[in-house]
């Protein structure tokens, strides 16, 4: 306990020798007397005198310690809660800046004021995604999140962290400017897997892949992804945002969907992996939010995490005690003879 005490403003402790002042016998308020031997013994006065010195010493001590700003350093407590370690892999290519289509309708030309309002409600895929992920961050602050962006390269933006605001700031940043046009999902996935490397297993592990397109992955990358997911025991969730009404419905794959499409090929590859995999098709903001809610419901298993206990400051307590001691000092000093009159 004591080992965790730290001082905010250490230099103030240099004032500590001052506490010895009350122990020095010569005092400014001493009264002159011709011959002290003539004074009667005053045992009570002696006690009062020493009590006064002791109180003064304690007062000085409290003020100085209070000034130095003592506090228990930030600590971490291991807790077991519900949640998951979620590595978010987000498409940050220019296609994500396009409007998400609503009920298959294109905004087209504006004709009336009502249309204008409807268009204003149009959000890009990226906007909608940010909103949905923001919802998840606020609802499950105990989940651990890592964020990876990808276009033709992969950008690991945040490592798994307990600092939700940094993930939020990274999400918010993705609406500034446009991304490059090309995508290379393989690199994004490998980077997201890398985020788990070397971490001790503390609860369920999830990669949440969000993209509006598929990808052709070569055999080498496929193998690296398959092996990486399995070794780190990661479940994969693919949130597929439809770009147009002609996008294939991946949730129906297996029946009669055209498998030459990149998306479908990707989905088939994921389904064949030796890890838990699920696809969520999102056509509009509502279905996207729903997909994320469904993932959240499934990933509510026990998770061991370290809760950060912020630094607690004790200086106020020392200052309060200093004040009380000061009051006592004042009371005591009333018993003192100030002059001979």
């Amino acid at each position: 306990m004591l080992a965790n005490i730290s001082f905010d403003k250490l230099p103030f402790l240099l004032l500590l020798p001052l506490v010895l002042l009350p122990l020095i016998s010569h005092r400014r308020d001493a009264l002159s007397y011709s011959w002290t031997q003539l004074l009667p013994q005053d045992p009570v006065g002696k006690y009062v005198e020493w009590l006064w010195r002791l109180l003064a010493l304690l007062t000085l001590l409290s003020i100085i310690v209070g000034l130095a700003g003592p506090g228990r350093s930030e600590t971490h407590i291991e807790r077991i809660g519900k949640g998951a370690e979620i590595s978010i892999v987000m498409d940050r290519s220019s296609s994500m800046d396009a409007f998400i289509h609503r009920n298959g309708a294109n905004p087209g030309k504006l004709t009336s004021k009502q249309d204008y309002v409807a268009v204003r409600k149009q959000m890009s895929k990226n906007d909608v995604l940010r909103e949905a992920l923001g919802w998840l961050l606020t609802k499950r602050p105990n989940n651990r999140y890592a964020l990876t962006l990808f276009n033709s390269a992969a950008m690991r933006v945040t490592q798994f962290t307990d600092d939700i605001s940094i993930v939020q700031a990274a999400l918010d940043a993705s609406d500034i400017g446009r991304g490059p046009s090309k995508t290379n999902m393989g690199r994004g996935l490998l980077a997201a897997i890398e985020a788990f490397e070397g971490r001790s297993y503390s609860g369920s592990r999830v990669i949440m892949l969000v993209s509006d397109g598929g990808a052709k992955l070569d055999a080498k990358i496929r193998e690296a992804i398959s092996e990486g997911l399995k070794r780190n025991n990661i479940s994969l969730y693919f949130i597929y945002i439809e770009s147009s009404p002609n996008s294939p419905n991946l949730e129906l794959v297996g029946t009669e969907v055209d498998s030459t499409l990149e998306e479908v090929a990707l989905h088939k590859f994921f389904s064949g992996l030796d890890v838990e995999y699920q696809v969520f098709q999102a056509a509009d903001p509502e279905s996207l939010t729903k997909a994320i809610q469904r993932i959240d419901e499934q990933q509510n298993l026990p998770l061991t995490y370290l809760e950060r206990i912020p630094r607690t400051d004790y200086s106020q307590w020392f200052l309060i005690s200093a004040m009380i001691l000061c009051g006592l000092l004042v009371l005591l000093s009333m018993t003192q003879r100030v002059n001979w009159q």
């Binding site: 005092r27 400014r28 003020i63 209070g66 962006l149 990274a170 940043a173 500034i176």
Partner: protein, 279 residues
């Protein structure tokens, strides 16, 4: 004395203090992989020196200051993080900064002027008087035509302050070539890179790279930014502190120490030994 002690209950007050808000922009093009700068006595890549300088900056800035970052290569600038408080999010910022590397590069060459222009626009979007700090070696790939400034002239309406930081050695050295996974696979050769069209067909040695301070100075002047070169991790923070690109913001300040110190003085005064005058 009692009066002094009561004053201890002073709440924290909001005082206007200068704080720094920076959006750092890292050049992550291949030339930033050139190892021709020193960090703690070791030779490291330009990007690593830039990262060390950024780490040093978030350490040195006073609480209440905010730092975020972007990366640029090719024709684009991607904002990775909006500015966050350097004290409250110190651990998260440090961990994220460590993740920055050349593998993020989505394009091998880079247009420094466009990177700078887009950083200014991004800072303008972020608002809050965020200043741009662009860290680059000034190496343009493909090279500019003679007379080209490399930056769009129109920057009207953007009142963004900031600084361009030059990083890199003075003598031209080969640029390492990396593969998809960030592994070095030799150096760029003269016939593999585009030579300057101003060279009249001659080899203008664009395969070699050094700090192009003239180009960076010219660019920073176009947009009204300051320019500074760094040789060590601490240089960037001190240049920024000197440049006073701060904004005045209210932040809570604990002033309890003033009455407490006065109380301390009062108590001490009672006990300062006085040498009595003998009359």
């Amino acid at each position: 004395m009692l009066f002094m002690a009561v004053a201890i209950f002073l709440p924290t007050v909001n005082l206007k203090r200068p704080v720094h808000n920076y959006q750092l922009t890292f050049d992550i093009s291949q030339s930033m992989n050139v190892e021709d700068v020193k960090l703690d006595g070791k030779t490291v890549s330009r990007l690593n020196l830039a990262k060390a300088a950024a780490q040093n900056l978030i350490q040195e800035l006073p609480c209440g200051s905010k730092v975020g970052w972007s990366v640029f290569t090719g024709q684009r600038n991607i904002t990775l993080l909006r500015p966050l408080d350097v004290c409250e999010h110190y651990d998260g910022l440090s961990a994220s900064l460590a993740l920055l590397d050349g593998r993020m590069r989505w394009f091998n060459g880079s247009s420094v002027g466009k990177g700078l222009h887009q950083s200014l626009r991004a800072a303008n979007t972020i608002g809050n008087e965020t200043a741009v700090v662009l860290i680059s070696d000034g190496h343009e790939a493909p090279p500019l035509r003679p007379g080209q400034s490399g930056i769009p002239k129109k920057i009207a309406g953007m009142d963004v302050k900031g600084m361009v930081i030059g990083v890199g050695g003075d003598s031209p050295v080969p640029i390492p070539k990396t593969d998809n996974l960030g592994r070095v696979i030799g150096n760029w050769l003269p016939h593999e890179v585009m030579q300057s069209p101003g060279g009249g067909g001659r080899n203008t040695r664009e395969e070699l790279s050094s700090l192009k301070s003239k180009h960076l100075i010219a660019l920073s002047q176009v947009v009204g930014l300051e320019y500074h070169e760094i040789k060590s991790a601490g240089d960037m923070a001190s240049a920024l502190f000197d440049a006073k690109l701060t904004k005045i913001a209210e932040s809570p300040v604990d002033l309890r120490w003033i009455p407490a110190l006065l109380a301390l003085l009062c108590v001490c005064w009672r006990f300062v030994p006085a040498f009595r005058r003998i009359t």
